[in-house]
């Protein structure tokens, strides 16, 4: 099955005050049509930037090398009308819905804008489709909501509007960038349920970005873990939890307190997460890794296949199966 999205050796440098800074290094992953891939990492891991690179929404002055291929098209080389067409095919749902909707225009204006301008749909027809989409994401009385302004809706409802809007253009890939982080837990669960349901009915591919490993595990087919701008492990979601291949993934799994057991101390990973440009040579996780050896720091770690997944650790085969044993403080 050929992939809908192929990311190969993607490296992204952003232009900052102090000069160009690398935020993503040699990252690769695939997403097949209809598949959902979770992209997990802490702050600075480069996960948000990955989504932006795919949607070509990077800030000015950003440099990308490597390749991003969507449905056979080289995304990084697109420009003009082709670029806009690509953007219309890749739907993005952002983290803070309130900031991402124009506060002085009504909901129906926001939802139908794309249809009216890009697809030349009539205003009434577009509004009808918008109402249907709102109903699909579980908003009742869609007609009333369409006439309202964003500040009259709650955060959770706005996020549903964003998802409904994203689906109106019938995308093939949905990029969800921490789209539930700004919501309370109950609403989070509802929105996730909607996303999951829609994904299956519409056969939509999804890149689900989050810092919450367990959340990714619940809704995604496969999970990709990023650290300091690199993909360190890609694995089926379920297996990642039971049998992580990389020390970082293992640490993330263990850091989640288990409601069933009692512990005297919460497990945390010592040190702080780094961005790509702050990382040392050699294995970037080395300073915080409980299994580090001298050779780890000596050279960059290549990605290797293991048990149906990929992992970036020279000791992966050796440590297989033992990463979740014992408590690391």
């Amino acid at each position: 099955m050929s992939s809908l999205l192929e990311v190969r050796d993607l490296t992204v440098r952003l232009r900052m005050d102090a000069g160009p800074r690398e935020v993503i290094t040699d990252s690769s992953f695939d997403i097949a049509a209809g598949e959902s891939l979770g992209l997990v990492g802490e702050s600075g891991s480069g996960k948000s930037m990955t989504a932006r690179a795919i949607a070509r929404l990077l800030p000015d002055g950003a440099q990308c090398t490597g390749s991003v291929t969507f449905d056979g098209t080289d995304v990084l080389a697109l420009s003009g009308d082709d670029l806009r067409r690509h953007r219309a095919l890749v739907a993005v749902v952002f983290q803070d819905p309130r900031a991402h909707i124009n506060p002085v225009r009504r909901i129906d204006d926001f939802m139908t804008e794309s249809l009216r301008i890009l697809e030349d749909v009539s205003r009434n027809e577009a509004r009808r489709r918008a109402a249907d989409a709102l109903a699909e994401v579980g908003i009742d009385d869609p007609a009333k909501r369409l006439r309202q302004f964003p500040h009259q809706l709650s955060g959770g409802m706005l996020q549903r509007v964003m998802i409904a809007t994203a689906l109106l253009s019938k995308p093939r890939l949905l990029l969800a960038d921490e789209c539930t982080t700004a919501l309370d837990v109950t609403t989070q669960a509802e929105v996730m349920a909607i996303l999951d349901d829609l994904r299956r009915t519409l056969d939509l591919a999804m890149l689900f970005i989050t810092h919450d490993l367990e959340l990714a595990g619940a809704v995604c087919d496969r999970t990709c873990v990023m650290y300091a701008g690199q993909v360190v492990e890609t694995r089926s979601a379920r297996l990642l939890h039971q049998d992580p291949l990389h020390p970082y993934s293992a640490a993330l799994v263990q850091a989640r307190p288990d409601i069933a057991s009692t512990a005297e101390r919460l497990i945390a990973i010592p040190g702080r997460p780094l961005s790509a440009f702050e990382a040392p040579a050699g294995c970037r996780f080395a300073p915080r890794c409980p299994h580090v050896q001298d050779e780890c720091r000596a050279q960059d770690q290549p990605v290797s296949d293991l048990d149906g997944g990929q992992v970036r650790c020279r000791r992966a085969v050796e440590l297989r199966g033992s990463l979740l044993d014992g408590a690391h403080v």
Binding site: L83, R84, R85, A88, F94, P103, V104, I117, F149, H151
Partner: protein
């Protein structure tokens, strides 16, 4: 929305009442007796004095006098100028046209040039932006009366491109005569509007909802029009409104400098001649115009930004 307008209008009426009270009361702060103030210290034959006393109800309590004055004003009767023996409303009527033309022309310049270069500066990069900032800085440093003098000398006396004094007759000639005064009046306001416009548009360009529109593949020109400029219009309208309102008082300076017989210049003359009825009358008109302009700005703001009238009610 209607409730909002009603509230604003009631505040306007309240403010006007208090302001008119202050304007009327100012007369009585003058040293000496009211009648001395009204006559400007001139001595008149006893019969004239008695007549004035009666006409101005000087034997009545202050509040009665104020009430009579205000209610007459609402009917367009602002009393009579003692030195000139003419109705104040007539005197105002003769001169209000010039002031209105001047303010209108200035407002047009401020909006077109100010907002225009502000947008150009915000959307352009590098040299264009720096050029805009520089022009705005120079313009900002020229307050109305300084600009009047400089423009008069450079373009009027030296280059002879525009007439220096007077209002001219006929439409095109008036326009020629009002050009330099309007530019002088507009100088600092233009700079402020340009700067606020540039900042507002710049800020809006960085907003996330603009990014959302781009991420949906919408063409850039449409995004700028429907989201950037539409939203930036809110602070821009406010600053344009404020600057236009301030023109009302500043016109006095420019009219005097350019020898235009508008309301502002006349107000100054009346103040020098201690012609109180005229001072009160023109002050009332100017304050009225100022307050009304501000209310119009408020309403325009509410029309542009629905969050103001509808409030935030998350459901």
């Amino acid at each position: 929305m209607l409730r909002f307008i009603a509230k604003r209008l009631s505040m306007l009426v309240a403010t006007l009442f208090v302001a008119s009270f202050a304007i009327y009361g100012a007369l009585y702060l003058a040293p000496g007796s009211p009648i001395a103030a009204l006559t400007g210290g001139r001595t008149l034959p006893p019969q004239a004095m008695a007549e004035i006393s009666q006409r101005y109800h000087l034997d009545d309590p202050f509040l009665t006098r104020y009430w009579i004055w205000v209610t007459s004003a609402m009917h367009g009767d602002l009393g009579e100028s003692i030195p000139l023996r003419e109705k104040v409303s007539t005197l105002i009527g003769q001169r209000i046209g010039v002031t209105v033309q001047l303010v209108f022309l200035t407002a047009v310049i401020i909006i077109i040039v100010g907002v225009g270069i502000g947008i150009v500066g915000a959307l352009g990069r590098g040299a264009i932006d720096v050029g805009v900032l520089l022009a705005a800085a120079v313009s900002a440093a020229l307050p109305a009366f300084a600009a009047s003098v400089i423009l008069q000398f450079v373009f009027g006396v030296t280059l002879g491109w525009f007439p220096v004094l007077g209002t001219g007759s006929g439409f095109l000639d008036s326009l020629r005569h009002l050009t330099l005064p309007a530019i002088a009046l507009a100088a600092t306001a233009m700079a402020l509007v340009a700067r606020v416009t540039r900042t507002a548009v710049r800020e809006e360009l960085d907003k996330e909802h603009v990014q959302t529109a781009v991420s949906r593949g919408l063409p850039w020109s449409g995004v700028v029009r429907r989201h950037v400029l539409r939203n930036a219009a809110i602070p821009i309208t406010t600053v344009v409104g404020i600057t236009v309102a301030s023109l009302i008082a500043l016109s006095a300076v420019v009219e005097t400098a350019f020898g235009l017989n508008g309301l502002g210049a006349y107000l100054v003359q009346a103040a020098q001649n201690k012609d109180f009825a005229v001072v009160q009358g023109i002050s009332l008109v100017l304050v009225f115009a100022f307050v009304v302009t501000n209310v119009v700005v408020d309403i325009a703001y509410a029309l542009l930004d629905p969050r103001v009238t509808l409030g935030s009610r998350a459901q």
